[in-house]
Symmetry: C2
Subunit: 447 residues, 2 copies
C-alpha cells in the first residue's frame, strides 16, 4: 500500500491496522496532522453539538468536522501529531506507545443503563475532539458559565492522545441487566501466588486509559472525563505512568523499565494483522459478539523493591531476566531481537537462559503471546518505609484471558526469579470495546 | 558577545548568565551538545575516579573529562541538549524551565560534618556526569558487583537535566556546629493564614531539585542520588511535577497551570543579569558569605480544589487571577505581556483588576519580585474524597525571604481570591548554594 493511500485510509477512520509500531519511526509521517487548541479557541463557540449530561451542568461537545478544515496543519514533530480516534478498533491498544499514561477506574453511581449509555456517548464525543486537539464543548467563552473545557491543554498539540474505554467484570452483576452478556472467558482473576493486592488499586466497573506524548495533555483528558462523568460515575483509582521521551529522543530505542532493562523487546509485532488477530483482537468465533474487534486488558500495579535490586550484582540481574542489561539481548547473544533459544547450554552444560528467568518463563512454549503496553510509575516516598515508591504499571491486551494472561501469570507467580524484586499490589481487568465510527459511540455494541 | 564566545564561556563553566530564557528558543543552539549514555557504556570501566561512600557499597564516579571528547555530538533537538552543571551559580534556578521535576528533601542520619561533606562531594560528581548524560561510576560492567548506575537512563540524552542542592533551616541546629553560619534572613517560615500543612510534605535538612525534559532521566537522577546518600541521608519527602512538553511542541508558549491559566507571565527576565542580581542571587552586601551567588528557595505544595473551580464561571475565574484565560493578558487588555495597570478603571469606575485578584496582590508595589519556577502535580485519587489530587508545586527563588516571599505570601494568604480554590499542604525552605567549578563541590563554601 502506498503511503498516501494509507494516509487516506487513516483519515477515513480505519486506524486499527494502519498504525505504525514504535520501532519504525520512519512511518511517523502517517501521524503528521497537527492541530493547536489555541487556533480552535478562536472558532469555537458557534454551532456546536450540545450534550446535556448528569446534574453537574451542561457539557457541550463541539463537532470536530466543523473545525478540522481550518486547523489541520503539517509538521514533522511527533509530539504534535494525532492518533485517529475512530476506527475498527479503539486506539491506545496497538498504537505505538506514547510517553505518558493516566489510567482510571470508575464505579457507577447509577443503576440505569440509559445513564451509562449517555455517559459513553458524551465520553466518546469528548474523546474524539480531544484526539483532534480541539477544546471540549461550546461554552468556553461565555463569561457567565463554567467553561466546558478546563483549559489546561489550550494551545497544545494533540500529542497522539488516545482514549481507550472498557468495562470490568463487576459491570455484569445484577445492576444493569447485562449478566447474560458477560463473555465466558471474562471473570475475576484467580488469586496468584505472592499477590499482595491493596483494595485501593483493584477493580472497577468501567475504565479509561489515556496515553499521550505530553503529560499535560493526558492529564487534561482524564480530568475532563472525570468531570463529564460526575453524577454517573466516581473515581475508584487513578494511576500515572511514564516512559522515556521516545520519538523526540534521537537516541531512543526500546524503553527501559526502572530496573534498568529494556522492556518490550519480545512483544508481538503490532503491524502484523495476523499476529494481532491471533493474540489481541477478539474474533467472531470467540463468542460475545459485542467484543468482536475489542480486547481484554489486564492492569497490574507492580511495586519494585528497587533498594534490594540495587544491591544485587549485574550477574544476578541479568540471570533474573535472562537478558543482558546493556544490549537487551538474550544471555550469551548480542542482538536484542535475537529469538530466545530455550535449548542453548553453556560450556558446563547448564541452560544459558536460567530455568527461573523471567523471559524464559514468560515465553512459555513460544506460542502464547500477549501484547504488553506497560509504563513505569513513581509515586513519591512510601511514608511507611522511607523508600521510593516506584514500579511498573503492567498493562497487557489479550484475546482470551484464560488462554493467555492467566496461565502465564500462574507460571510467573510461582517460579519467576523476578519475584524477589517485585510485589503485585494492584489488579484490574477490563473488556475494552471495539472501535466506533463517526456518529456512533464506544460501547454501542453492548449498551 | 558573539555566539561562539558565549559557547566557549559556557564550556568554561560560567553557565549562570549565558543561559537563554524559555521565551528565546532561538538561542537553544547554546545547549547543542548531546551525548548518549549508550556510547559511554562502551568506554566506561577504565580509569574512573572512585569515591567510597557510606555503608552501602562502593560508588565510583567516572571523571567526565575523560569521556567528553569521544562522545559529544551535535543535534538540534532540545530534548537532547545539555544544561551545563558547573558555573558561578547552580543550574536549575535561572535555567529555562524543563518539563519535569523531582524534588526531594532528606534528613541527615549522621552527626558528622565530614560525612555531609563526603555526601555533597559524591553528589556533585554524580550530578556533573549526569548533566553530561554519562553513566555514574565505573562498575557498570562487572558481573560480580552491583552496577554503579541503575541504568534506566542508559541510551537517553542528557535532556537538559539540572540538579540543584540546598540546606534547610534545621541544618543549622546544634548537630554540625554551624549554627553561627545561619543567614539572618533564613529561619523557619511564619505560619500563614489558611495554612493546612501536612508534616509529610514539610521541611528537611537538605534538598535536591532535579529538572529535565525527560521524566525518566529526572527519575534516574533523583533515584541515584538517594542511593548514593544511603547511610548518610534518608528521604523525608519526594514530589513529582510536570508541565506541558515545552520546546518540543511548536505551539508552545507560557505553560498553563491546572486551573487552565498561563503561569509565569509576570516573572522577571532571567536573561537580565541586573534583575537577577536584584531579586534572585545573594549579593556580597547581604552577609552570609557562603551564600554569595546562591539563592533561597521556597517549596509550597498547593492543592487545587479543581471540582470547585470547575463549577465557577469564566468571569469568576478571570476575576480571580485578574487575567484573561485565553490570552493570559491583564483584564481588559489583549497582550499577555502588557504591564499590569493597577489604576485602570472600568466604565463604572471599578478597578479593572479586582482588589483581591491574585496578580494584583502578588504584584505588590511592582518592585518586589520573586523568580517562580513552579510545576503542576497530579497524584492519583485522594482516597478520602474520591477526587483527583492535583495542584501546584510552587517553587520560587529569592535573594532575601524577609523582603520578598514572606511579605508577599502574608498578603496573598490574607486576601487572595485564589484561596477559595487552593490549600497549602506542604512547605519547605532551602538555602541553595552558589555553583562550583570542576574539582570543587556544591556546598564547599559552607562545609
Ligand atoms: C515489574 C514486573 C515486570 C517487569 C519489570 C518485566 C520486565 C520484562 C523484561 C525486561 C522483559 C524482557 C524484554 C522483553 O521481552 O520485553 C520481559 C519480557 C516479558 N514479560 Fe515481563 N516484566 C514484568 C512483569 C510481567 C508480567 C506480570 C507478565 C505477564 C504475566 C510479563 C510478561 C512478559 C512476557 C510475555 C515477556 C516476553 C517473553 C518472550 O520473549 O516471549 N511480564 N519482561
Ligand atoms: C496554586 C497556587 C497558585 C497559582 C495557581 C498561581 C497562578 C498564577 C497565575 C496564573 C499568575 C498570572 C500569570 C503570571 O504572571 O504568571 C500568577 C502570578 C503571580 N503569582 Fe501566582 N499562583 C499561585 C500561588 C502563588 C504564590 C504562593 C505566590 C507567592 C507567594 C505567587 C506569586 C505570584 C507572583 C509574584 C505573580 C506575578 C505578579 C505580577 O504580575 O507581578 N503565586 N500566579
Amino acid at each position: 500500500m502506498r503511503k498516501t493511500e494509507m494516509n487516506q485510509q487513516t483519515n477515513q477512520g480505519e486506524n486499527g491496522n494502519a498504525e505504525p509500531r514504535a520501532k519504525s519511526e520512519k512511518e511517523a509521517g502517517l501521524f503528521d496532522k497537527q492541530l493547536s487548541r489555541r487556533d480552535v479557541l478562536k472558532i469555537a463557540g458557534a454551532g456546536g453539538l450540545g450534550l446535556l449530561l448528569g446534574g453537574g451542568g451542561a457539557y457541550g461537545v463541539m463537532a470536530a468536522k466543523e473545525t478540522l478544515n481550518h486547523t489541520v496543519r503539517k509538521t514533522s514533530s511527533p509530539a504534535g501529531s494525532r492518533a485517529p480516534f475512530y476506527g475498527q478498533h479503539q486506539s491506545g491498544i496497538i498504537t505505538p506507545t506514547q510517553n505518558f499514561l493516566y489510567i482510571a477506574s470508575f464505579d457507577l453511581t447509577t443503576r440505569s443503563l440509559a445513564d451509562v449509555r449517555k455517559l459513553f456517548q458524551a465520553w466518546t464525543e469528548a474523546a474524539a475532539v480531544m484526539a483532534e486537539g480541539v477544546m471540549i464543548g461550546d461554552t468556553n467563552n461565555h463569561l457567565n458559565l463554567p467553561p466546558s473545557d478546563t483549559g489546561e491543554a489550550a494551545g497544545l498539540s494533540p500529542s497522539r492522545v488516545t482514549l481507550t474505554f472498557g468495562v470490568g467484570p463487576s459491570f455484569f452483576d445484577s445492576r444493569f441487566g447485562l449478566s447474560g452478556k458477560r463473555p465466558a472467558s471474562f471473570g475475576d482473576l484467580p488469586a496468584f501466588h505472592g499477590d499482595a493486592l491493596l483494595p485501593e488499586w483493584c477493580g472497577g466497573d468501567i475504565s479509561v486509559q489515556v496515553c499521550a506524548d505530553d503529560m499535560q495533555v493526558a492529564f487534561h483528558a482524564i480530568r475532563n472525563l472525570v468531570r463529564i462523568g460526575r453524577g454517573t460515575a466516581v473515581l475508584r483509582w487513578m494511576q500515572e505512568g511514564f516512559q522515556r521521551t521516545g520519538p523526540a529522543d534521537p537516541a531512543g530505542g526500546t524503553p527501559r523499565n526502572l530496573l534498568g532493562f529494556k522492556d518490550g523487546t519480545g512483544n508481538p509485532d503490532t503491524t502484523d494483522t495476523g499476529d494481532m488477530n491471533e493474540s489481541v483482537w477478539v474474533q467472531p468465533q470467540d463468542g460475545a459478539d459485542w467484543m468482536r474487534g475489542g480486547s481484554y486488558q489486564v492492569v497490574r500495579r507492580i511495586r519494585m523493591r528497587i533498594e534490594v535490586w540495587d544491591r544485587s550484582s549485574l550477574a544476578d540481574q541479568e540471570q533474573t531476566f535472562g537478558r543482558h542489561r546493556d544490549s537487551g539481548a538474550p544471555l550469551g547473544l548480542k542482538d536484542e531481537f535475537a529469538p530466545l533459544d530455550l535449548n542453548a547450554k553453556d560450556s558446563s552444560g547448564q541452560p544459558t537462559l536460567p530455568m527461573n528467568s523471567h523471559s524464559r518463563l514468560a515465553h512459555m512454549d513460544g506460542k502464547v503471546k500477549i501484547l504488553r503496553r506497560a509504563y513505569s510509575y513513581s509515586a513519591g516516598m512510601d511514608t511507611k518505609t522511607g523508600q521510593i515508591d516506584a514500579g511498573l504499571i503492567f498493562i497487557c491486551f489479550n484475546r482470551n484471558l484464560q488462554k493467555q494472561f492467566i496461565p502465564m501469570q500462574r507460571i510467573l507467580a510461582k517460579s519467576d526469579k523476578l519475584n524477589e524484586y517485585t510485589v503485585h499490589i494492584g489488579s484490574a481487568l477490563f473488556a475494552c470495546f471495539p472501535g466506533t465510527t463517526k456518529g456512533g459511540y464506544i460501547g454501542e455494541t453492548l449498551f
